[in-house]
Subunit: 200 residues, 2 copies
DNA sequence: TCGCAGCGATACGTCAACGTATCACTGCTT
DNA sequence: AAGCAGTGATACGTTGACGTATCGCTGCGA
């Protein structure tokens, strides 16, 4: 083996179990202590696993950290095909707010940001992850502009960033995290005007 | 002494010099290695100072970290009294973008976020700092709403957060940081319509 | 000009984590 | 049923940081 990624090939069940347990513990550890203070020994203790088992599967501490961040991928996608563009935007914004507020992602955001600042591979992963997550929102806004639901002069990418930026800002820079229930309010405030101007 | 805050009282010049040198080095170190990997010995080396000198002024590593973050305060404020509300908002947004992109604040943002997540005092400082920084923007937007320049239904606080949130989001979650020159574009996209609807 | 407070340097003991090695044991695969 | 690959435990040497202590040196204030 000697590769961090869990191979989907047939695998000794003991190995599969180890990998999953360790990655789960590593993600928790990252959320708890952050990127800089992350230690392999804590992960081993948390996972109830020997240090050697970790070193058997990942060549170094950094590789394990990267592996742990990879496990952040699994998230159900919201419905983005039904309803008006405005409704779809609200639904996506609510979904982002839920992910940002929920486990395991929420507690890892600071570690992810700090990790991205220190390590190039973490950074690449982090930025790509965010770009992918933003994509449906940008697409729906662009569609809304095209079909005249939103003002033609707005920039879909920039609007999307203002929306999700507000959610992350509240999580990271204030002690009043954004609640998913406020999604409609955020959309209304941020570019509700554009919708109203059509309804007039 | 034994207190981290630089007293404005009369002070042995050697002490004053030490404090300033050490705090400056500590801030650089935080920007470079982050909160979790911050070490006193590195700060001493970077400052060209004995370890003992640091321990003479701060009781522990954490106290020094807090002291270092305190030094982030100094920033010139933008002009917020002349021009239309719309112009003032643009000026403030541009100023925030400059601070977020400039030294020494920019490189400390990830460390600050991570530090805030791990330590209660850092968190309090961080949130208060952000709240203060947001205040003029919220006030100007509220004024614009009151005097009819902006749509009456927008929430000044939420709008302000969408604006600065976009700037921080670009800094932390993408590899295309927000450039101060895009301030007008951001304002136009986010609530340009509100201004236009009045001009109609 | 004198004396001392603050200085940088350095050494010290402690601890924790890194990454390696070894070793029975156990539960897969065949 | 056999045997081996993967396991947890444990010990090891190394490194680096914590925080303390001690030491001459120096530049500030009286």
């Amino acid at each position: 083996m000697r590769r961090g990624e869990p191979r989907s090939e047939e695998l000794d069940p003991r190995v599969a179990r180890s990998l999953q347990t360790i990655l789960h513990a590593a993600l928790e550890e990252l959320g708890d202590v952050g990127y800089g203070a992350f230690t392999i020994e804590s992960v081993a203790a948390r996972a109830g696993v020997g240090k050697s088992t970790i070193y058997r599967h990942w060549p170094s501490k950094l590789a394990l950290i990267e592996g742990a961040f990879q496990t952040l991928h699994e998230q159900a996608a919201p419905d983005i095909v039904s309803g008006s563009p405005r409704e779809r935007v609200e639904r996506i914004v609510r979904h982002v707010a839920e992910v940002v507020a929920g486990k395991p992602f929420s507690s890892c955001i600071p570690a992810l940001i700090d990790g991205a600042e220190r390590n190039r591979d973490v950074r690449r992963f982090h930025h790509r992850f965010q770009r992918e997550a933003r994509k449906p929102l940008v697409a729906v806004i662009a569609m809304g502009v095209e079909c005249g639901d939103f003002e033609s002069h707005i920039d879909p990418e920039l609007t999307a960033i203002a929306l999700v930026g507000a959610i992350f800002y509240r999580r990271l820079m204030t002690n009043e995290p954004f609640r998913p229930g406020q999604a409609a309010e955020l959309v209304a405030t941020t570019f509700g005007v554009a919708t109203r101007s059509r309804a007039r």
